[in-house]
C-alpha cells in the first residue's frame, strides 16, 4: 500500500533530512532563513500556515497528527516538529509497539 511504503521511507530518513526538509519548506514560504530553534510565531508563521504544515508533514512523512498532538506547542520550532515526526513515525497509527 502507498501509505505503508511512504512510512517505510520516512522511517529510513535520518533526522537531519527531516530537519533540512522542513527548513527548506519554511524558508521557501516565509522567504526567510529559519534555524532549528527559531520561534516560528516570531517569524510571522500564522496558525493557518501551521495547518498547511500539518498537511504537508502528514503527506510527506506518512503520519497522522491528531488528538493531543495537534497543538501549537508541537510546531513552535523546527526541532519540535522533527521530534513530533520521529515519535509518530516510530509508533505509527497501529499504536505503540
Amino acid at each position: 500500500m502507498t501509505t505503508s511504503s511512504d512510512r517505510a521511507e520516512s522511517r529510513a530518513a535520518a533526522p537531519p533530512d527531516i530537519e533540512k526538509d522542513l527548513r527548506t519548506f519554511l524558508e521557501v514560504r516565509t522567504k526567510n532563513p529559519i534555524g532549528p530553534d527559531d520561534d516560528l510565531a516570531a517569524a510571522g508563521v500564522s496558525s493557518l500556515f501551521v495547518m498547511e504544515l500539518v498537511t504537508y508533514m502528514e503527506s510527506t512523512y506518512g503520519i497522522v497528527i491528531a488528538g493531543p498532538d495537534l497543538m501549537m506547542e508541537n510546531f513552535r520550532t523546527v526541532r519540535a516538529m522533527v521530534a513530533l515526526v520521529e515519535r509518530l513515525a516510530a509508533t505509527g497509527p497501529g499504536g505503540p509497539g
Binding site: R29, V54, A66
Partner: protein, 298 residues
C-alpha cells in the same frame, strides 16, 4: 447511550442530543458547523447546492483541526455527527436552526420561512445576518417570535464573543433558549438592539469601505493602512485583512444593505471593492483579495 425507558423513548433524548440545523454551507455555515460539532452537538447542514455540500465536509474537518490546534474546542469526547441534506425537511426535529445563507434579504427570508415551516413552534430560529435588521426578516415569516439574531464573527470557533440581536417581536423564551445554547457553546453573548448593521457591522463595514477608498486613492497601500490601524490604533488584524477574512462579496452585500437603509454615502460600496468582486478576488476564500493567500489556494 441510555437504554430506552418503559415509555420507549430514551431518557436522554432531550435538547442535548437533538441535532442543531445549520442552513447554508458557505464560509460561515461551515465555520458554525465546526463550532457545534466540536462542542459534541450533532448537526444537520442544509444547502440547496449539492456540490457545495460535497465540498463542505473537508472544509469542516479543516476547521475542526485548526480549532483544536488553537486550543479553541474541548479535547475530550467525540465530535458530533454531521448529516448534510438539500431538503429543508431535514431540519425537522432540530433543537434550533441557525441560518447562514447569502447576505441578501430575499435569500434569508426564504431560508427562514423554510426553517419555520420545517420545525415545531418554539424552536429557536437564529439568523447569522451581519447587517439586515431582524424585524425586517421577521416580517415575512411565520413565528417571528422565535427569531433571534446571532452575529458570529469569522472564524466562529476562534472568536468567543457574539453579537446577539433581539428584534421587537422576539419572544423572551427564544432569547432565553439562544442564550442557553450560546453558553453551552462557550460563547459570550452581548445583546444589542435591532437596526441596520447592529453595532459591529455599522462601525466596521463603513471603516473597511473607507480603508479601501484610501487604497484606491493611492494615499497608502493595504499593508500600510492595516499596519497603522494595528500598531497605532490597536485593531487586531487591520480592516483590510479583516475584509479578506469576511469575504469581499459578503462585504459588498452588507454595505448595500446598510446603504439602502441608512442613506449614508460612506456605506456605498466603493469601486475598488466592486472591481475586486467582479474579478473574483473575494479574499481568503478565493486565494486573493487585498492580500495573496497561498495557503488558501486549492
Amino acid at each position: 447511550m441510555m437504554a430506552p425507558t418503559s415509555y420507549g423513548e430514551p431518557v436522554t433524548r432531550d435538547q442535548e442530543v437533538r441535532p442543531l440545523a445549520v442552513l447554508g454551507a458557505g464560509v460561515m455555515g461551515a465555520g458554525i458547523t465546526a463550532l457545534l460539532l466540536g462542542h459534541r452537538r450533532p448537526v444537520v447542514l442544509v444547502d440547496t447546492d449539492a456540490s457545495r455540500l460535497d465540498r463542505v465536509r473537508a472544509e469542516v474537518s479543516r476547521h475542526l483541526r485548526l480549532a483544536r490546534l488553537m486550543g479553541a474546542l474541548p479535547r475530550e469526547g467525540a465530535d458530533g455527527e454531521l448529516v448534510t441534506s438539500t431538503a429543508p425537511d431535514a431540519m425537522a426535529g432540530a433543537a434550533a436552526v441557525i441560518e447562514a445563507v447569502t447576505e441578501e434579504t430575499a435569500a434569508k427570508a426564504k431560508a427562514l420561512s423554510d426553517a419555520a415551516a420545517a420545525t415545531a413552534p418554539g424552536t429557536p430560529l437564529v439568523s447569522n445576518t451581519s447587517s439586515i435588521p431582524i424585524d425586517e426578516l421577521a416580517r415575512g415569516m411565520g413565528r417571528p417570535e422565535d427569531l433571534v439574531g446571532v452575529h458570529f464573527m469569522n472564524p466562529p470557533y476562534l472568536i468567543a464573543t457574539v453579537e446577539v440581536v433581539q428584534g421587537p417581536r422576539t419572544a423572551p423564551a427564544a432569547m432565553a433558549a439562544v442564550r442557553g445554547l450560546l453558553a453551552d457553546l462557550g460563547r459570550r453573548a452581548v445583546v444589542v438592539g435591532d437596526g441596520p448593521g447592529f453595532v459591529t457591522s455599522r462601525i466596521l463595514h463603513r471603516m473597511i469601505n473607507d480603508a479601501a477608498r484610501i487604497v484606491a486613492e493611492g494615499r497608502a497601500s493595504a499593508e500600510d493602512v492595516d499596519t497603522l490601524l494595528q500598531d497605532c490604533l490597536g485593531h487586531r488584524t487591520g480592516p483590510l485583512r479583516t475584509a479578506d477574512l469576511i469575504g469581499l462579496d459578503n462585504l459588498v452585500d452588507s454595505l448595500r444593505v446598510l446603504h439602502e437603509r441608512t442613506g449614508d454615502d460612506g456605506c456605498r460600496p466603493c469601486d475598488l471593492l466592486l472591481d475586486k468582486v467582479r474579478a473574483g478576488d473575494l479574499g481568503r476564500k478565493s486565494g486573493r483579495g487585498f492580500y495573496d493567500y497561498l495557503e488558501a489556494r486549492p
